[in-house]
Symmetry: C2
Subunit: 110 residues, 2 copies
Amino acid sequence: MNNTKRKRLESKGWKIGTASEFLNLSPEEAAYVDLKLALSRSLQQTRQEKKMTQEQLAKLLKSSQSRIAKMEAGDPSVSLDLLVRSLLVLGTSRKGLARMLSERRTALVA
Amino acid sequence: MNNTKRKRLESKGWKIGTASEFLNLSPEEAAYVDLKLALSRSLQQTRQEKKMTQEQLAKLLKSSQSRIAKMEAGDPSVSLDLLVRSLLVLGTSRKGLARMLSERRTALVA
DNA sequence: TGATTATATGTCAGGAATGACATATATTAT
DNA sequence: ATAATATATGTCATTCCTGACATATAATCA
């Protein structure tokens, strides 16, 4: 997976285009990253729709504000598990998740 | 999350009904478990459709046969991350994943 | 403006997931 | 029936993710 390289790139603020355009990412790796980014965005959106602060969500999830911030920022240190569990505590259904996954577009510009 | 309790129950071979029927699982926890079980099944199905052995998939995923077996068995020790990455290396698309998530039915009988 | 509240970023000890391995049990051939 | 192949189950050291905390940087408001 080479987390380190991705982390390094991202820390430079160079998110350009789709994750699949990062050099040296296999298609599956790219798909995996895209997927997490899609969920990150959905998480932030859902939380904001519910007019919750990161602090409040953190409490609900028994996590911490910093974790939530990292999740929403698409930090590679956060797992799919945590992303999904966050969405679930916000009341997202399986169908809802499915919709988030199929959402078109992933390109991000810094 | 109380993995231990679930592990203990499951190890007894008592998977009955939906995960949500396990005592003391909050709705989100139950949804999370159901979700993983759904992906477990999809994984096995997909692998078999591709006429692959667990060993072959393991190699493709750079994992091990035992991990694959555990995944397909719905072992609580495996993460969503690994499940999803497995499906991705098998060529599952985001849409495909979404379909797997919304699949009806979760009840399992031992 | 400065105070308050929200979010971002960095670090780290502790806990959870991992691949590897051994080995048991099915399943399928011959 | 027995060999060969596939899958299941258990254990463990290493690796990765976690919550917690400190602190920086925004955003909102008096």
